[in-house]
């Protein structure tokens, strides 16, 4: 180890000071205007320090990454899925794969408790848990030829824990798809502009698919440019449609949209990949990266002022309208992606490890990408916190709570201490050319309002409505991609499970099996979507906590696998690196599950809710927000399903953690009984830098390599 020189010391001291100042201002400012710049400073300062020191420590001291060891990409290079990929390209790939609607939606909903709890969790969570998980999973999967998380759980923990992990992953996938679909339905309902532009993405994608398949195979950049241009045209045309006589055709009720979405999901998932999935994925990747860059620029240029309180009263009282429950544990499950996301472990194992050039790059790819995703979450939190809090609550509270007129909404929201006049509510909707913004729950519309606020500060207010719909389109686009891709992954899991019982299902291209399993998967998420749309208590309010819990439970599986592997590979003294995040995550998530199942507060506990409404039915009463007996029965059925589901998920994860613990204890007592399925050491012949910028030694090494005649 070299000793630190003066320049390095000065630079890192400055970085630390910037971060610390950001934190100090955020923590100490009360009742005065705080600029979003401080949030950005706190985040970037913390990320830089964490990346430079903590991630480096984990990579070199704990994982002991070995730059002389060949990665699967080098050993098994087949020019297709296994191939050494430039680290900067792989960073882009990996980031595009992990970033989606999650980090944008969660922080928006969590803003009901104020911006401070969310900021602390996003930053501390990513530094100590989320980025660590992504990097460690990536490392271990790289050592195992790119095995998936499920395979690693089976091989390293055992068939029992492995099976539990598999069933949990399937259930989690279904809930994820149902909730994401609900987010789009809430954003597109009664919005002809949004519905038209999203509908247009289907013919655009089909056209791109045809172009790539028949006209000019593989010319992705040119077809993506054509696609993006058409997409922007569809966005502009959306306004004309909304103002024309066609508006009624595209003004859809939520329940109609449900039918369309489920039908879309089913058809898209049985069509060949090249037709819809692949081209749509190119479009959404372009839009994703472009919009995130624009948003980052917008936040830095506009530096808006945060209008939300640092901590609202809902944080301690636990009776918030967006989601029920108090700060602990519910902030930590509402913000999943962006701080700690179990889903990332599915990307970090599987695809990325087959492309990484050097083990030393796991820090940049695994930890670095997750820091980038976390900064997206921070931007979403900024966007939600700069809009008028009165508008925020009017948009995010279910209509059962705030009613359906601006007068009623204004009265209820003002009663919570956030005054906003009926006129202001009506004008906010008018300015983005929507008929109403009341109860547009799900986070996407709120984010779009925040984004349009930031962008129109830069471009002028005349484009506000355009930016709002741009943001809606951007989110809906990759949620639709996720529905298609997720249905396929769910189907794949189901085919695998059913194949053990009914043989023909094992053959994944067996058409009847394919159609049946696709229909089953769509039916399952479609059920949750239908329930969410018709839930008298508010779909997002009821379902988002289950989504958060399930994502964090998947993270618990990933962290349990990591911890087991650390112990089994002789790194017992470093097991706390993933062990502490595991304990924290399990505590938070199991507490949340416990409260959702057993709480005696009917707003929080599903079974209490069930019994309150069942008792009322027995007495022949109708309890608000239900409007009639049918609503009452709906509430009873839904809370029973939600409660049972939460309990089952929690039990599955307890099984996985207990099984992992058993394996760890056995290894500590009798190491000879453990087997470790690591690919054997092969010496690497590649030369590649570890970080974004090559060090002087790495440049020297590269020059040396070029100088010697090519060997093999």
């Amino acid at each position: 180890m070299r000793t630190a020189n003066v320049r390095t010391t000065v630079i890192w001291t400055l970085v630390a000071l910037v971060g610390a100042t950001g934190w100090a201002v955020l923590a100490l400012a009360r009742g005065e205007d705080v600029s979003a710049a401080w949030m950005v400073a706190a985040a970037l300062g913390s990320y830089a320090i964490a990346y430079r020191f903590y991630a480096k420590f984990i990579a070199y001291k704990v994982l002991k990454v070995d730059r002389t060891r060949a990665t699967p990409a080098e050993r098994l290079n087949n020019g297709i899925d296994f191939h050494p990929t430039d680290r900067r390209v792989l960073l882009g790939h990996h980031f595009a794969a992990i970033a989606g609607a999650g980090p944008l939606v969660g922080p928006v909903l969590a803003a009901q408790m104020g911006y401070l709890p969310g900021t602390i969790w996003i930053i501390a969570g990513v530094v100590f848990a989320g980025a660590v998980q992504d990097m460690v999973v990536l490392f271990f999967s790289t050592r195992r030829d790119g095995r998936s998380l499920g395979q690693m759980a089976r091989e390293e923990i055992g068939p029992f824990g492995g099976a539990a992990a598999l069933i949990a992953a399937f259930a989690i996938m279904i809930i994820l798809l149902g909730v994401l679909a609900l987010v789009i339905v809430n954003a597109l309902a009664q919005s002809p502009w949004g519905t038209f532009s999203i509908a247009m993405t289907i013919p655009i994608a089909l056209l791109m698919g045809f172009y790539l398949r028949v006209l000019r195979p593989g010319r992705v950049s040119e077809v993506s440019l054509i696609g993006v241009a058409l997409l922007l045209l569809a966005l502009i045309a959306g306004r004309w449609v909304a103002e024309s006589s066609w508006a009624d055709t595209f003004t859809l009720a939520p329940s109609t949209l449900v039918v369309w979405l489920v039908a879309y999901g089913f058809i898209a998932s049985i069509l060949p990949v090249w037709m819809l999935l692949a081209p749509r994925d190119y479009l959404s990747t372009f839009m994703k990266i472009g919009t995130i860059l624009l948003l980052a620029l917008g936040v830095v240029i506009a530096l808006p002022t945060l209008k939300m309180d640092a901590v609202t009263d809902f944080a301690s009282r636990g009776n918030g309208p967006v989601f029920a429950g108090s700060l602990f544990p519910f902030v930590f499950i509402t913000i999943a992606c962006g701080a700690l996301s179990g889903f990332h472990s599915l990307i970090s194992s599987g695809t990325t490890p087959k492309m990484i050039q050097k083990e030393t790059q796991v820090r940049m790819i695994g930890y670095g990408s997750m820091l980038m995703e976390s900064s997206v979450a921070i931007m979403a939190l900024v966007a939600a916190s700069i809009i008028d809090p009165g508008l925020y609550f009017a948009m995010n509270a279910p209509s059962g709570a705030i009613g359906t007129t601006v007068q009623e909404a204004s009265r209820v929201v003002s009663g919570w201490g956030y005054s906003i006049s009926p006129d202001d509510l009506a004008r906010a909707a008018e300015r983005v050319e929507e008929s109403s913004l009341l109860s547009r729950t799900g986070g996407a519309p709120t984010l779009a309002i925040g984004v349009s606020e930031i962008f129109s500060k830069v471009t002028g207010g005349s484009l506000r409505a355009f930016w709002y719909h741009f943001a809606i389109m951007f989110e809906a686009l990759f949620i639709l991609t996720a529905l298609d891709a997720g249905t396929r992954v769910g189907r794949f899991m189901l085919q695998d499970m059913l194949g053990n019982v009914i043989k023909p299902f094992k053959n994944i291209s067996w058409k009847p099996g394919l159609v049946i399993t696709s229909a089953l998967v769509c039916g399952l998420w479609g059920y949750f979507l239908w329930v969410g749309v018709h839930e008298p208590l508010g779909g997002i309010n009821q379902l988002f906590p289950i989504f958060g819990i399930s994502n964090q439970l998947l993270a618990a599986v990933a962290l349990a696998v990591c911890t087991t592997l650390l112990v089994k590979s002789g790194r017992l003294k470093w097991a706390w690196i993933t062990g502490i995040p595991l304990v924290w995550d399990a505590t938070v998530t199991l507490t949340a599950s416990w409260q959702k199942v057993f709480s005696s507060d009917p707003k929080v506990g599903f079974f209490k809710q069930r019994s309150v409404f069942q008792d009322a039915i027995d007495r022949g009463e109708v309890l608000p927000p239900a409007k009639n007996m049918d609503d009452m029965h709906t509430v009873v059925t839904n809370s029973t399903v939600d409660g049972v589901l939460t309990a089952v998920l929690a039990l599955l994860i307890v099984v996985v953690i207990a099984d992992a613990l058993r394996v760890c204890v056995r290894h500590v007592r009798r190491p000879a009984l453990s087997t470790l399925s690591e690919a054997p050491y092969v010496e690497s012949k590649l030369v590649a830098p570890a970080g974004l910028f090559p060090t002087r030694e790495e440049k020297e090494e590269a020059r040396h390599e070029v100088g010697t005649p090519a060997g093999g």
Partner: protein, 66 residues
């Protein structure tokens, strides 16, 4: 100045081609010619079909997150 600009444009083009996997075919051809000189090199059309067929078979490849 001119050459710096040209280098930047080349860099961006390289990055976009790599990120979108437009360069996948060239990479595969290089791989086949070097490691399996006896084998036939598929046309671009055949190669791109093979690639989407592989994704069809295992949808976990290229999966996107929430």
């Amino acid at each position: 100045m001119r050459s710096a600009l040209r280098r930047a444009v080349r860099g961006v083009r390289w990055y976009v081609r790599e990120l979108t996997d437009e360069s996948a075919y060239d990479r595969y051809v290089t791989h086949v010619r070097r490691d399996h000189p006896q084998a036939d090199v598929p046309t671009r059309r055949e190669f791109e079909r093979m690639r989407t067929d592989r994704q069809e078979e295992d949808p976990r490849q290229g999966f996107r997150c929430c």
